[in-house]
């Protein structure tokens, strides 16, 4: 996460590295599922790295985000570590949620991640409430509410955008439009322009190419700063694409998405490859430097997966823990 307002080589390389981390993480998560080592299902965000890293790089650790069922990217981009994330996906005690949340509820409280959410649009209220807290308590925190184009079907979103606009809350509604809600095309599910919805409440809206990490980051820095100064809320539509299916088991997807389309996005519009090319062209990094990053990240991931596979499960006694928080006094 970038502390200063200037972007320099260090920041660029960190952005690159963060995107690679997400891509590698998702690859390993997919493998864990396919080899029947991971319980339950997971939803991968490969292809959407730039949208997520671009936004999160504009945030401090204390700024808040809420996430979706497709939440590994948000979690990593906001500062989470491989080891605790893999542990959580496998239900191990050292996971971020002690194995009790899993992929769809992963939360990293120390880094301001208020949690992935299994209910589509379910975290919009939480994000808006976090912004209300920030404003009321004067913490200057900004909250980003990540959601997909599918969540635009949920009434809750409109209710909270209305209130955020009424009360000028420091929240940014970030819609990752990956063109599909589950197995349906966005134009079949959402009537009218996506931004028009927020605009109806008088909220300032922006559309950005979600595959261009620099464009996303530039926009995000600007809006985050303004939100911190009380000019929020904002709505951004990030046009992006998810490489995998809706969830790991959604393998046979030709009936709703053509292979040609997928190939196009993977080859011509890949955010990591394109950013890498840009870094090399601008002479900010050399090709072997980037390859070294790839290799190092992969090694990290392998080690973390091995660790997580061997790590212990929570003790049986933990099943009844944490239903209620203990009161201080």
């Amino acid at each position: 996460m970038s502390p200063a307002n200037t972007t320099n080589s260090e920041d660029y390389l960190r952005m690159y590295r963060q995107m690679v981390r997400i891509r590698v993480f998702e690859d390993h998560a997919n493998q864990l599922y396919l080899s029947a080592k991971m319980p339950g299902l997971t939803h991968m965000c490969s292809g959407q790295e730039a949208a997520e890293v671009g936004v999160c790089e504009a945030l401090e650790a204390s700024d808040k985000i809420t996430s979706t069922h497709r939440g590994h990217g948000h979690c990593l981009a906001k500062g989470a570590e491989f080891k605790e994330m893999f542990c959580e996906l496998l239900g191990k005690a050292e996971g971020y949620c002690r194995g009790k949340g899993g992929s769809m509820h992963i939360a990293d409280q120390a880094n301001g991640n208020l949690g992935a959410n299994a209910i589509v649009g379910g975290s919009a209220g939480i994000a808006t409430g976090a912004a209300l807290s920030a404003k009321r308590l004067g913490t200057k925190d900004v909250t980003v509410c990540f959601f997909g184009d599918g969540a635009l079907g949920q009434g809750l979103l409109y209710e909270v955008m209305n209130m955020a606009a009424l009360w000028k809350l420091p929240v940014i509604y970030a819609c990752e439009n990956n063109l599909y809600g589950e197995y349906s095309k966005v134009e079949e599910m959402a009537a009218g322009p996506l931004t028009a919805r927020a605009a109806a409440f008088g909220i300032e809206t922006h559309v950005v190419d979600g595959q261009d990490v620099l464009a996303v980051n530039r926009l995000a820095r600007d809006l985050v700063e303004r939100a911190r100064n009380g000019e929020g809320p904002f709505f951004i539509q990030l046009d992006t694409y998810r490489y995998y299916g809706h969830h790991v088991g959604d393998i046979n997807r030709e009936y709703y998405r053509s292979k040609e389309e997928e190939t196009f996005w993977k080859t011509k519009r890949d955010p990591i490859a394109n950013f890498g090319k840009w870094l090399i062209d601008e002479k900010i990094a050399a090709d072997d430097e980037l390859k070294a990053v790839d290799k190092a990240v992969r090694a990290d991931a392998e080690a973390a997966v091995a660790y997580a596979l061997a790590a212990p499960y929570p003790d049986a006694a933990e099943v009844r823990l944490h239903v209620f928080a203990d009161n201080a006094a």
């Binding site: 808040k64 809420t66 996971g95 971020y96 949620c97 002690r98 194995g99 009790k100 949340g101 509820h105 939360a107 409280q109 208020l114 949690g115 959410n117 299994a118 209910i119 379910g122 975290s123 919009a124 209220g125 939480i126 994000a127 808006t128 409430g129 976090a130 912004a131 209300l132 807290s133 920030a134 009321r136 308590l137 913490t139 925190d141 909250t143 009434g155 809750l156 209710e159 909270v160 209305n162 209130m163 009424l166 009360w167 823990l321 944490h322 239903v323 209620f324 928080a325 203990d326 009161n327 201080a328």
Partner: protein
Amino acid sequence: MREITLSKAVNEAIAEEMRRDPTIFVIGEDIAEAGTPFKVLSGLVTEFGTERIIDAPISEPGFMGIAVGAAMTGSRPIVDLMFGDFLFLVMDQLCNQAAKTHYMSGGKLKAPLVLRTNLGATRRSAAQHSQSLHGLLAHIPGLKIALPSSAYEAKGLMKTAIRDDNPVVIFEDKLMYNDKAPVPEEEYLIPFGVANILRKGSDITLIATSSMVQVAQKAAEILAAESGISAEVIDPRTIVPLDEETILTSVRKTGRAIVIDEGHQSFGVTAEIASRINEKAFYHLDAPVQRIGAMDVPVPFSPVLEDLTVPTPQIVVERARRCVKGELFYAA
């Protein structure tokens, strides 16, 4: 001791806590200038301003969700839900998010909030404004449920709820807002999970919640005066957590029990308490545990019909008499 209405008691509790803790705010519909349709929160906006007494649009899921997020990030919101029937609108944010946040995060996040709403029929408000849905929520792990039965209980339980780091739902009986009771001037809190024995007895135990406590008390008086039956009356005050021990000790003494609650007869609070008595005091029972709840019908509008659907002292008296005489026998 001074006597104040239940409405005033709630108002005092919230005001005192808000003075003590600046992170507390109230959010709901028509709560500021209007002080809610029941006027319970009147005057709070004058003292605390619209920053802390927040009027929301008619967006129950929305402001419930906002309260959850605020609670997770350092605030202590009180959500005012105008009618208990509107719980169905906030269920996802209350039951899927607030109730489960602490657990799903492995203990790292919490949602200290109070949802203040009501229950109770016979107000001629018909089916969608008369439900008593506390049993529904008690079924969800992660929520605490308080049922004040008088002004005294209302103030003490509300303070405890506000200071609790968990989501607490308090149900006030909307018919009781003008009922007065002795309430101390000095500060006091009523702990959760501690039942109150209002009346000691030896022949039968009457366990009642919310306004049914008054129903049970009246029934006990009639039983003593007309039938020489000595009834013990217990108010659990909170159903989650539930003070089992007090109830069981009483039933072991009397050997007979009737549970009275304004939720529907079937699949509710009475069934849960009766079941626990069955499990843990079986060998002390001289009669099957009885349940008296509201009739299993949507609340009708016509007063003549509505009044048939709720437990009354007479219904309790009849059942208790037959219970003591050993007349309740449902042959196989």
